[in-house]
């Protein structure tokens, strides 16, 4: 394992310290407990939007802290949910007096730790609403699983909730919009290589030279099945089809298409996948009106990608387009 790190146990803190120095105008990083706060805090009277989860998915979530998106982010250890005291400290610091929306990716650990953290601040009289992101169609949402996972669709929930909060919507409205996004967004991912958690020192799974793993999550965990590597067209189809089926997309609908890199995949390949997905959506008569391409929800240095589709309407489109000024996303 070769990484640009020093002590693996300090890697998350080391990285956050560099992040804070590089973006001192935009964010503030607090330690003990660790969380990232928007510089200057939430404007008084505005709803705050807070998210968090294990580290190793950068720029998610800390890279999305800033005007128009998140007011705070709570990074855990690598691939490990943050603890309740981190969550409650972030919620408390982010509250601008109008309540806080907690955006939680559906993983047992994130759910349990946020739940406990939220209980702690509610006891202090802060109003908190939560939205669960569970966009990963690789996991069947049934009695026999912990439910679909939250993956790259989280970016859309955070962006749109942040825009709603920025325009002055109240907590109930921000939550309702976030839930509309969560209900209309689906994703599916593929790994070409596994990633190595620094303190583990070996990859999460092994893939032969001609195998790819379909239906991976974002924690280096294995996916649902392996297939022989077969080019961008075939892989894009395997990712896009279940997404489109699950959303029940029909001709004439408008969508946001987001092709996300897992961290070790060149941008040029993401554009190839994006192009293939556009062709396939066009064949179905689905209109792509908004696009996002980049490595935004990653699994350390994993090579691979995910395809996310969000069903758009006029209001969601307007909120997507609203200005955002964060280290990783800005327009």
């Amino acid at each position: 394992m070769k990484k640009l790190l020093d002590d693996p146990a300090q890697a998350v803190d080391d990285s956050l310290r560099g992040f804070a120095l590089a973006h001192a105008d935009a964010v503030e990083v607090r330690f003990d407990p660790t969380f990232v706060l928007r510089a200057g805090g939430t404007p008084p009277g505005r709803v705050a939007v807070v998210s968090g989860g294990g580290s190793g998915h950068e720029p998610l979530h800390a890279g999305f802290v800033g005007p128009g998106m998140l007011d705070a982010a709570v990074p855990g250890a690598v691939f490990t949910s943050p603890t309740p005291d981190q969550v409650s400290a972030a919620l408390q610091a982010a509250d601008g007096g109008a309540g806080v929306l907690a955006v939680v990716k559906n993983y047992t650990g994130d759910v349990l730790n946020f739940e406990t953290g939220v209980e702690l601040v509610e006891a202090e009289g802060i109003e908190v609403a939560s939205v669960l992101v569970n966009d990963d169609v690789a996991v069947e949402d049934s009695l026999f699983t912990a439910g679909r996972r939250g993956v790259a669709g989280t970016v859309a929930v955070e962006k749109i909730a942040g825009a709603a909060a920025a325009r002055g919507d109240d907590l109930a409205t921000v939550r309702a919009l976030a839930e509309r996004v969560a209900a209309g967004v689906r994703s599916m991912g593929v790994a070409l290589t596994a990633c190595t958690v620094p303190h583990v020192g070996r990859p999460g799974f092994e893939l032969a030279d001609d195998e790819v793993e379909i239906g991976i999550g974002i924690h280096g965990e294995p996916g649902r099945h392996r297939v022989t590597a077969s080019g961008a067209h075939d892989i894009t189809q395997r990712l896009l089809e279940p997404v489109v089926e699950d959303l029940g997309l029909t001709a004439g609908e408008q969508v946001l298409l987001f092709v996300n890199g897992m961290g070790g995949t060149p941008l040029s390949e993401l554009y190839v996948v994006y192009g293939r997905a556009r062709e396939m959506l066009a064949e179905r008569g689905v209109e792509v009106t908004r696009s996002l391409v980049g490595s935004l929800v990653t699994s350390l240095e994993m090579q691979g990608a995910s395809v996310t589709v969000l069903r758009l309407d006029a209001e969601l489109t307007e909120l997507w387009d609203a200005p955002v000024r964060t280290p990783a996303l800005r327009w």
């Binding site: 407990p33 294990g54 855990g76 250890a77 690598v78 691939f79 490990t80 949910s81 943050p82 603890t83 309740p84 005291d85 981190q86 993983y107 047992t108 650990g109 349990l112 730790n113 739940e115 406990t116 690789a138 996991v139 069947e140 009695l143 026999f144 699983t145 912990a146 996972r149 958690v197 303190h199 583990v200 070996r202 999460g204 799974f205 999550g217 924690h219 280096g220 965990e221 294995p222 649902r224």
Partner: protein
Amino acid sequence: MTVLDVAWAERWMQTAATDVRAARDELTELDRRVGDGDHGVNMDRGLSAVVERLDDPALPPRETVGQVLRLAATTLMSTVGGAAGPLYGTALLRASKVTDRPDLSASGVVSMMEAAVEGIVARGHASVGEKTMVDAWQPAAEAAERAEDAEDVADVLRAAAEAAAAGAEATVPLVATKGRASYLAERSAGTQDPGARSSAIILAAAVTAAEGRDA
């Protein structure tokens, strides 16, 4: 006759920390196969923090078993993260509430075990057979209850620990339906659940501590 007093409780946590550290790579490997590979490191980090706080001369000495368990609960809650952090945290927090006395009788051990299981189930909503730590704790609590009339309280603990180990072993063939391993569906079968395994190690540490062989 064994006495399960405050010193025992502190030895329990110290032994658990030592034994989990020794098993760290094994736990990591189990979690790498059916999860995300962090369970060993998470538990090691958390239990080391517990030992550090127990050793901290600035903190007031504990006067009840419950105070030891409460210190462990809040420390694990704020240092472990992941699914295991709140689950172990809640288990020990509930257990601490029924153990606020200088030492535990056999029925005290039974109550402690039952409270712990209730805490885990309240948080995680899993039941036996879903390939989680419940598969270790639930049979452990039941075994403790069956052993309540034992001469020596250590035997109650021993019954619990043996049942936990058997329960953890029994998770090997199971298909997970809770937690991260559930994403693997059938592919989760064939590997022991990491949280059940760490639970068995921690309950075995309670016995070791009772036998006076501390860390």
